[in-house]
C-alpha cells in the first residue's frame, strides 16, 4: 500500500533543472500550464526521455527565470476559475526580457 502511494507520488512529481543545474520539484499537473511541457509529458506513447525520467533540463533558462516561470504555473493554477480579485504578477525588470523569451519557448 505504501509502495503504491509512493509510486503515485513519484509519477506526479516533475523535476526541472535550470542552466546552472538548480533543481525545482513540482507536480506534473502544475507544469501543464506550459504547452511545451504538456506536449512532452502527456503525449500518447511518448518517446520523450523527459517523460520516462520525469525531469527536464533547460540549458537556456537561468535559475531566476525558471523560478519565475514556476511561480507563474502556481499563480495560474490558483487563480483560474477563481472569482477573487486577480493580483498583479510581479516581475523583476532585470529578467523580463529573458522571461519573455522563455515564456515564448514554453508556450506559457
Amino acid at each position: 500500500m505504501s509502495n503504491e502511494s509512493e509510486n503515485d507520488l513519484n509519477s506526479d512529481v516533475l523535476r526541472l533543472y535550470s542552466s546552472s543545474g538548480h533543481e525545482f520539484v513540482l507536480s506534473r499537473k502544475m507544469s501543464y500550464v506550459s504547452g511545451t511541457i504538456k506536449s512532452m509529458l502527456n503525449a500518447d506513447n511518448s518517446n520523450f526521455m523527459e517523460d520516462k525520467l520525469s525531469e527536464i533540463k533547460f540549458r537556456e533558462i537561468s535559475t531566476p527565470v525558471l523560478e519565475k516561470v514556476i511561480q507563474y504555473f502556481y499563480f495560474k493554477n490558483k487563480y483560474t476559475n477563481s472569482t477573487s480579485d486577480l493580483p498583479e504578477f510581479q516581475i523583476n525588470e532585470k529578467i523580463v526580457v529573458d522571461l519573455l523569451l522563455s515564456a515564448h519557448f514554453l508556450d506559457t
Partner: protein, 208 residues
C-alpha cells in the same frame, strides 16, 4: 459564458505589457529578434521606434508599424501603396520632413501677418501728448503786435506755419491746448474796459 471568473493573461503577454511602457529603461532588448520587437513596439510612437533602434544598434524590420504610422499622418490616402523602390519607413520620413517644412512656412507667414497687423494698429493709434510743442520761429522772425487786429492781419503773411499752426500736426492739435503763442498775444478784456469805452463815446458825442 463569463461568470465573473478571472481570465489569466499568459506569461508572454504579462511580459509584453510590462516592457511596452518601459522601453526606455529595459536593457537587453537586443537579445530579442525582430518579431518580438515588432510586437513590443506595436503601441510605440515613431520616435520610440527610432530610439529603440539606436539603443539596440540595428534597424528593426517593422514595415507594418511604419505603414500604420504613415496612415496615421492623414497625408496618405487609405488605398495608397508604396512604390517598389520605396519603403513605408522612407515614406514616413519624407512626410515628416514635408510636414516640418510646411509648419515652418506657416509659422513664418503667421508671424508676418501678426507684425503687419501690429504695425497697422500702431499707425491708427491716437497719441495723447501732455506737452504742447510751440513753433520755434514764431516770435523770432516776426514781431507781431499784441492787439487782436494785428493778429488778424498776420494771417495774411506768407508763412503757412505762422498763419495756421494747427495744420502742422492735426492729430496732436485735436487734443492739445491752444498754442502758447496765441495765448500770449491775446489779452483778456480789462474789467474797466466798458467804462473806458463809454467815456470815449461821451467825448466823441461832445465833439460832435
Amino acid at each position: 459564458m463569463d461568470f465573473g471568473l478571472n481570465e489569466i493573461p499568459t506569461l508572454f503577454d504579462i511580459c509584453l505589457n510590462y516592457i511596452q511602457p518601459r522601453l526606455d529603461s529595459i536593457k537587453n532588448l537586443s537579445n530579442l529578434n525582430d518579431d518580438f520587437l515588432v510586437r513590443l513596439l506595436e503601441k510605440a510612437s515613431p520616435q520610440q521606434i527610432i530610439l529603440t533602434e539606436a539603443k539596440i544598434g540595428r534597424e528593426i524590420s517593422a514595415e507594418e508599424l511604419w505603414k500604420k504610422h504613415c496612415f496615421n499622418t492623414s497625408f496618405v490616402p487609405p488605398d495608397y501603396e508604396v512604390e517598389e523602390d520605396q519603403t513605408w519607413r522612407s515614406l514616413y520620413q519624407q512626410l515628416t520632413e514635408q510636414y516640418e517644412e510646411k509648419r515652418k512656412k506657416t509659422g513664418d507667414n503667421l508671424k508676418k501677418l501678426y507684425s503687419s497687423a501690429e504695425n497697422q494698429r500702431k499707425s491708427k493709434q491716437i497719441k495723447v501728448l501732455t506737452e504742447v510743442v510751440t513753433p520755434p520761429t514764431y516770435r523770432s522772425t516776426h514781431s507781431v503786435p499784441k492787439t487782436s487786429s494785428s493778429s488778424h492781419s498776420s494771417s495774411s503773411t506768407s508763412s503757412p506755419r505762422t498763419s495756421s499752426p494747427r495744420t502742422s500736426s492735426p492729430r496732436v492739435s485735436a487734443y492739445a491746448a491752444p498754442p502758447r503763442q496765441t495765448k500770449s498775444t491775446y489779452s483778456k478784456p480789462q474789467a474797466n474796459q466798458p467804462k473806458l469805452m463809454a467815456k470815449i463815446l461821451k467825448q466823441v458825442g461832445k465833439r460832435k
